[in-house]
Amino acid sequence: MSLCIKGGEGLVEKIRTFPPSPVNEKLKTYRKGELAGIVRVSDRCVGCDTCRTQCPTGAMMGEIGTRHKIDYDRCINCGQCLINCPFGAIEQMSFLDEVMKKLEDKNSFVVAIVAPAVRVALAEEFGKPPGTLTVSRLHLALKKAGFHIFENNFAADQTIMEEGTELIGRIAYWELGLKEIEFEIKDIRPISWVKKVKLDLKEFENKPLPQFTSCCPAWVRYAEVYYPEILPHLSSCKSPQQMAGPTAKTYGALKVWKVNPERIYTVGIMPCTAKIYEASRPEFDSAWRWLKEKGLVTTKFKDVDAVLTTRDLAELFRRKGINPIEFSENEKPENFEWYSGGGTIFGTSGGVMEAALRFAWSVLSGQEPPALSEKWNFVKVRGYTHPRVEAKITIPLKSELKKEIGLDEVTLNVCVVNGIGYRGLHIKDVLEEVLAGTSKYHFIEVMTCPGGCLNGGGQPVEPMGTSWIDPVLPLPL
């Protein structure tokens, strides 16, 4: 099977795909039961050696002129080799056939968990310029194809509430010396509500600062394989995809759609190849465990059953004769289609950081500025083409905290790693400083792909490859 790159535009070859097979299950993996070999090098490799210099881990091996090979023990499934191969010689594992069958199966309730970066890239596959936004037309096209929708941005909002709460907990325990902290989370539009949160900070004894983000599965795998000592610093939150899956199968199934959770088949639609492996991680079956405890289900299932990349989704639409560009962009969202601006910027480097800072700012200052206020605008943490950015963010404290700690404000040092870089070039010294106890940061975002998920391994292949220039320039552009 082969997928067209942007309908065959330019000279760049098509990305070919292959279905998961027993070979992938037999490959040795870090966690027993998860999928490996998400990307593989085919015979079409001419040995140009481009992929090797884009690989963050050194898993891609080979010399110029030779067929390259992936060392799966070292591979973190980021797919950067794949989108950077000019010869279309790297193939991707695809669940497309399985998802197509589920969509035809009347007994299955197929839920699309659609990631933020997909909506800014999908249109490229249908002849539109890069960056063309498809939001409600994407939802409508998905519905036409037979999906129900759980916005991954909705789950990103869940993530940021958890990850932000965890960050506040770590700061309160390690930086402010508090034993407990109480705050309100409120005004999440369109339904206004208030939730009181009281954290017993004892649990943060083993969760030191700085806190790293944990929503990029390739980065998590990188940490597990190359820097396991850093794991206590990683946020304990799951990624948005892995929060969306169980929420859809529990709350969604029981309270919103009112269907038997066993019928729900969740499909992550991601800009990312690492998400394919992430969904297969054995610990991600919490919906099944929770429902089993309640005696509601018997058969075991995963939180996320399959993952399609943006390219896979475009092919699915093509096979079904659906062109998402032809739908209206003015549809009103319903159920899990709502989300905040914080959720949507997860797709770009610095976006998770900015969303977490907005959350921490709101909670610690007790203020809720208007949506477009400059106070929310932490754009200086956006990575763009810089391999790493850092910033100091000062947050005024609300009166209760002022009294309790005797300070008017706190200043957070934050860092965004924009792409792990060739053999960890952008991240190694950050990690080493943290391990040596000399890091000045409170919060560090890591995105494996340069530019963030927008430039993920599952995105349409951009024939000019703008991320390429980095390795040949002494200074960032």
């Binding site: 490859g465 390429w468 040949v472």
Partner: protein, 230 residues
């Protein structure tokens, strides 16, 4: 003693020789790798060899340009000098088809065609065919060198389409020009034996005066005129 005239000075002969060895070294290593005719380990070795040949060739050509710019200038002037006789040469390929086929049975079938007519308009140092070859080699060396080294050092700056374009230009120009050199240039030089000898013999790069008068009369007249002036 037989009268001779200098056709290929030592510097040009060295460059030609190095070019020939490196070109075929580059071609063979490149072909074996591109068409995957050998296994991975051998391909890795052959690519190292390819890069070594490329480095030697680049160095020699750059040195030639830097050390003997006058020779480079004269060579460029010669191959770019297309007068009416150069154009006229193409009307019957300098009489070569007649030379090869004139005495064969085939000739009676082709004698009516323009390219089969006998005779050759007077040529300068290089005939029109050699001028075209010279230009082809110069431009292909420039393109192959540029694309090759760019792909080796700066491919990231090109983008994927750029890499594909450079890669395909590199491979296919090399193949086409090598075929041209192997099946046109080499047989024709072997026919012009004194020219071949002057290029490859140990010793001076001269040709007999008689041969020069016959093949390159314009060049010969100019050389003689220059000598008289001196």
């Amino acid at each position: 003693m037989k009268e001779v005239v200098l056709r290929h000075p030592l510097s040009s002969r060295i460059v030609h020789f190095v070019n020939m060895i490196c070109w075929y070294g580059l071609f063979l290593s490149g072909i074996l790798v591109y068409f995957k005719m050998v296994d991975n380990y051998e391909r890795a070795f052959l690519m190292k060899l390819h890069i070594l040949f490329a480095a030697i060739l680049t160095l020699v050509i750059v040195s030639y340009i830097v050390v003997t710019p006058d020779r480079v200038f004269l060579f460029m002037q010669e191959v770019l000098n297309w007068d009416k006789d150069t154009i006229a040469w193409w009307k019957n390929f300098g009489g070569y088809p007649y030379k090869f086929l004139g005495k064969t049975k085939i000739y009676k079938y082709i004698e009516k065609f323009w390219f089969a007519k006998p005779g050759c308009p007077p040529q300068t140092k290089y005939n029109a065919g050699q001028k075209l070859l010279g230009l082809t080699v110069i431009f292909s060396l420039a393109i192959l060198g540029f694309t090759g080294w760019f792909l080796y050092f700066f491919r990231e700056a090109l983008g994927k389409n750029g890499v594909l374009l450079f890669f395909n230009l590199h491979v296919w120009i090399a193949i086409i020009v090598t075929l041209f050199v192997t099946f046109v240039h080499i047989p024709l030089v072997l026919v012009n034996w004194p020219d071949f000898v002057s290029m490859f013999r140990l010793g001076s790069g001269t040709v007999p005066v008689e041969w020069a008068k016959e093949h390159n009369p314009k060049w010969f007249e100019r050389e003689v005129a220059e000598l008289k002036e001196d």
